[in-house]
């Protein structure tokens, strides 16, 4: 699979529809095949937030338990939107995780970033090398930039690049017009580019004046950013 084209083929839908029918009829092989198709994508979305394989596995399992129970009870009727449904469940689970971490941080009464909380308690064994120690690595920098996007932007990026959803699926899932979503995605990419260019991932955000977990909106810097001005000239065409 190309890393620059994360979406999966359209003809997958017919195959998935058939698998869903078989799984609902208690065909375990079909169920395993479904999980084989989708669990890496669900897992990737979860792991992007928790940086912990065990927690991500648990979230993934929780997502599929929900799917399995709904299929078994006949509550789900395939209408060609399985992926949107699956990733809505995933998104809700990830949101639960984010809320839990924020709550924990408040209870602790510290100034630590919510994102650091869970990582500090139970990171992957190799998380340090993957996410922290490679400050000079562009991918590591981009991971850090991603963590500083506004929540809605980050969610959209993760649905697209970790979950592999098409913009059309994301449009259904997020209940947003396709054009709006494309523009939002482009602006989010631009924010990431600006964060990378500003080198603000090498500290806690002091350079950019942003608080952890949030970056400046592009309009705040609009008149100072050549890149943003270029985007403004082009964004109508993009939509």
């Amino acid at each position: 699979m190309s890393t620059t084209s994360p979406t999966f083929p359209d003809d997958l839908h017919e195959r998935v529809a058939a698998l869903l029918v078989r799984a609902a009829a208690r065909d375990e092989r079909a169920w395993r095949e479904l999980i084989g198709l989708y669990s890496p994508r669900v897992f990737a979305m979860a792991n992007s937030r928790c940086h912990n394989d065990h927690v991500a596995e648990e979230i993934t399992q929780g997502v599929f338990v929900t799917v399995c129970l709904k299929l078994g009870s006949g509550e789900y009727h395939e209408q060609g939107r399985f992926e949107s449904w699956l990733f809505r469940i995933t998104m809700n689970r990830v949101r639960d995780l984010v809320r839990q971490r924020k709550r924990t941080t408040r209870i602790m009464g510290t100034q630590m970033s919510a994102d650091a909380d869970l990582d500090a308690q139970a990171p992957n064994d190799d998380a340090a090398s993957s996410y922290e120690d490679q400050a000079a690595n562009p991918l590591a920098q981009l991971r850090r930039a991603l963590e500083r996007l506004p929540e809605a932007d980050r969610e959209m990026i993760e649905l697209r690049h970790h979950g592999g959803l098409s913009f059309k699926q994301m449009s259904e899932l997020l209940s947003e017009p396709l054009g709006t979503l494309l523009a939002r995605h482009h602006r989010a990419i631009l924010k990431l580019r600006e964060l990378l260019d500003n080198g603000s991932m090498t500290d806690s955000g002091e350079n950019s004046g942003a608080s952890p977990g949030k970056i400046m909106e592009p309009q705040d810097k609009r008149h100072n950013s050549q890149a943003t001005q270029a985007l403004d000239r082009r964004k109508d065409g993009r939509q």
Binding site: T3, S39, E58, C68, R234
Partner: protein, 210 residues
Amino acid sequence: MTTNHTNPRADSDGQPLSMADASLDSRLGDVETMLGQIGADERSRLTPAMFDRIARATWQAEMPNVIPALQFDGRPVEAAKVARARAHTIGSGRALRMAAAIAIFGTIAAGIVAMRSSPSTSRQDGNEVASKGGLQGASGYQDNDSVVAVTTTDPDLALDLALIDALWKDDSLSTDDLWADAGMLDTSSDVTIDQLLGGGATDTAQGGAM
């Protein structure tokens, strides 16, 4: 103005991109490429073992194996469905002890034990303990941040699940109280879960097979 994908040096009207536009387009493309790499990296972290646990555990969670006659605390126990237990008051050590006790009693034929009472005590610990107790393919799931679930395909587990449910719901109860309430352990034997965990005391536990 949009990029012309046939000729990336031109926009959709065939007009050449300005150098600034082309440079920006390229640099944004770099970000998308890297995001694709990150996404692929994250997807590849799901190992075959993880996949197997997820597939098995989720399938078992749906097994419609119900014993309607069996009740605990006035509530029907739907064995082999999902016994849910709130874990927000329980310490991780206690959850682990319970997992070990379940495993030692040997009543879970194909069971799942999940314990996520704290972020640092996760499925990894649960799997390890359950594995030592003889569980095959121990796995589990957490329904949300305060719910732990245990599932099994073995209908004989009904009372065990209810017991776990009760224990996790009321942290003030001692394990001995609960075992005694359920008639699973002769409290006069003074066998504690800790002793069970320590080994050598398993034979003195009575009522393991209900």
